[in-house]
Symmetry: C2
């Protein structure tokens, strides 16, 4: 098994959805990613939290064998995001973003993190993504995410990161924003032209569209979930399930592995959205995933 | 083989999309439906056109063996719709609707239409849908479509039609409108509670979600098409492919037939959107569909 290094946010989120509210609940891309990926592989986290970060939130990752040697605690408050979802719940409305300790984040990898085989650069400032990637000696497979904020204020830098990764996992709206395309199908090959050999476009309730230079499109719908309680973290969970699955294989990732990884990410994410914060995700077992996968296969098969 | 009776509009559409414009091009649900369905089965059209309806547009359906005995030509102008598509092209913006001869449409079925086995009530006023359905003696399988206009001004009447059909084919936005649900997954079982045993929710570029009381969900993405020239008629084409496929089977439709019918409808619709009006659809052959189906299978299979 190979180790996965992830750099991303550890946060407290205040969320409002039609199902209710969560106040300062555990969130952040690195948390969702690590909880999902650690079901399959060894995960190493690079990130920063403030003095208010709760011991039980460290413990949650540590009981899953996640290596927190790259997680620094510094004076100040933990990153805080406040958002709400309405209507079709496909997109969050950001009400407040308090970077707090993230503002002066200067990621330094512990020595034993530098040999990581898999690297996921979750959605943080592109300079930080680069800074982390440069410290990893010879990664086998690197993935990245990004978001509208960086595509607006630091697009050139995002494109610089794109050149150095194997895979981009990105929301549909952001894929269009990055390329100027008006649909995911035309955006995907434009993104692979920018560097990565594969792109996975996350389509929320509609599932995902993967495109690889070598083998073209692989597109499937999401698991049907009637009541979406809180979509926060679904994309990071997808990425965690995806990387976890890949890292658990013996071989260098092939397109077939990536297709299976997409389905695993999708099954994982379908759990995350069924409760607020990481509540549902933290309880998911391999048995649950297997059961859901069987249900899913019925949905997509004649 | 069984006959399919369709009642719907025959129209001239003026359309603007990012790819260009079409002025008074052939359109209308009955035209798209008939062109698609007639590749597989015998189609009978009930509708009305004005004095301006072009002989070549009659000929187009007649060369496909479509029975036009139920199509009346009356004084006045043919139904005219004007719309434009922007951005993701998932929804048309209606600029003008001129009902013209449709305003006083009083559908009377020719005697030999009354034994039709399959009936599709395309998107027209629900009273007209009922009036047609009441004239068919003992249909084996009845489907319907509807739209936001009728759901706004004649929702009770739409619900009355719903009680008399086996299947509803409806757009995602309209499925939400009909039920008050905020996603297709929760809307689908609510629609089957209203009468029909099956519902197919059309999701545009995201494909379709079918739900049957007996067997639950069947969900697949659309064929990936990078350049959507004109999405007009995609839903009616889907319905035509769906009904054509069902009518060509020897047995009474099962869930398995309906799943295959969804895929056929989807393959048909993927052609329609590649050119303005019925230009692409009118040229599609069974060979083209077979080729596309093979490409599609690669996209959705590991």
């Amino acid at each position: 098994m190979s180790e996965i290094l992830v750099v991303g946010s550890l946060a407290y989120d205040s969320i409002k959805t039609p199902s209710g509210t969560a106040d300062r609940a555990l969130g952040g891309s690195a948390n969702y990613f690590s909880l999902a990926a650690s079901l399959f592989a060894k995960v190493r986290v690079v990130g920063v939290v403030g003095e208010d970060y709760d011991q039980k939130d460290y413990d949650l990752l540590q009981t899953r064998g996640v290596d927190l040697a790259g997680l620094s605690k510094v004076p100040g408050k933990t990153f805080h995001w406040e958002g709400s979802y309405e209507g079709d719940m496909n997109e969050a409305k950001t009400l407040k973003t308090e970077l707090n300790v993230f503002e002066h984040f200067n990621p330094q990898l512990p020595e034993h993190f530098k040999d990581s085989s898999f690297v996921f650069l979750a959605n943080i400032a592109p300079e930080l993504q680069l800074q982390v990637l440069e410290q990893v000696k010879s990664p086998k497979f690197v993935g990245m995410d990004s978001m509208n904020l960086w595509l607006t204020i630091k697009k050139d830098k995002v494109i610089e990161v794109l050149k150095k990764v194997d895979l981009v996992l990105i929301n549909e709206g952001e894929a269009k924003m990055l390329t100027g395309a008006n649909n995911a199908i035309s955006a995907a090959p434009m993104i692979t032209e920018m560097g990565p050999s594969a792109v996975v476009i996350k389509r929320g309730e509609y599932g995902f569209a993967m495109y690889t230079k070598a083998d073209g499109y692989f597109i499937l719908p999401a698991m049907p979930i009637a009541t979406v309680v809180d979509p926060t973290g679904a994309g990071d969970t997808f990425a965690g399930g995806f990387f976890g699955y890949l890292a658990a294989q013996k071989e260098v990732p092939t397109t077939t592995h990536m297709k299976q990884a997409c389905i695993m990410g999708s099954m994982m994410a379908s759990h995350t959205i069924q409760d607020f914060s990481v509540k549902s995700l933290a309880k998911v077992t391999l048995g649950d995933l297997d059961k859901r996968l069987n249900e899913y296969k019925k949905v997509i098969t004649i």
